[in-house]
Homo-oligomer: 151 residues x 2
């Protein structure tokens, strides 16, 4: 509590810019996905992760960690996606406690249909505005923080 280390102008500018931008971009993405496919951003991320996974399936806990969401939120969202026919639950062969979330064919098609429009937003507002150098610096910077927070 003693001698607080405040942020100097450069640090403050960086933090403010990061904070505002992440929230603004999140809102824009949410809006695009909702209007284009009726999906939320977490739901879209779930589909992406599953599509990238071996056999298009993943354990619930691992998936929750990847998408950065609580276990209960994932339970809820997988149920929603199951109702929509995009994902199915399967029992885990190696662990009777476990549940596998599996991407269905319909889910894969949905993802392929939605991805272009989503990527266009990510490009238009972020990726395409940065130089190669800025992209790499950002990756390096973000990775440090991500690593530190994964504990």
């Amino acid at each position: 509590m003693t001698d607080t280390r405040w942020l100097d102008p450069t640090e403050m500018a960086a933090w403010r810019a990061f904070l505002s931008t992440s929230h603004l971009l999140e809102r824009r993405i949410e809006e695009q996905l909702k209007s284009a496919a009726g999906l939320t951003h977490p739901q879209y991320e779930i589909l992406v992760r599953l599509a990238d996974a071996p056999d298009r399936q993943m354990r619930m806990t691992e998936l929750a960690r990847g998408v950065v969401v609580s276990k209960s939120a994932l339970t809820y969202q997988i149920t929603q996606l199951e109702k929509a026919g995009l994902v199915e639950r399967a029992t885990c062969p190696s662990d009777d406690r476990g549940v596998l979330a599996v991407l269905t064919d319909a889910g894969m098609r949905c993802l392929e249909r939605v991805a272009p429009g989503h990527l266009e937003v990510v490009r238009a507002y972020l990726i395409d505005r940065l130089t190669r150098d800025e992209l790499e610096t950002m990756t390096r910077a973000m990775s440090k923080t991500e690593q530190a927070l994964r504990d």
Copy 2:
């Protein structure tokens, strides 16, 4: 829809890192604020903005834009902060439709008490891990996106 521009590995790495990091950091901050002061991150941001504003007061809409939250969410949060005695509502002299959110003395003291712990988290996971150069590059990159999204 024709010829989708996918993200190459460098672009994808940058986007993934940004996305995960912002969510992880958000969760960590939320946790710290909740346990240290019973505040949510949006609530804390409201106090910060008001403390920085002339006369410690701001119009609702302007405040909502600053914190990047919907008008209805701000209405809700200001009501919460009012119950806690940290903020008050005042009528706007120049516009009868308007409402001013005003930071109380208790609100200012609360902020001064909570800020150090909050900044420690921002430093520990983000700011202190970046070089001066990375900080500046990040600010430049984020500002481009922020600017593009403020429309």
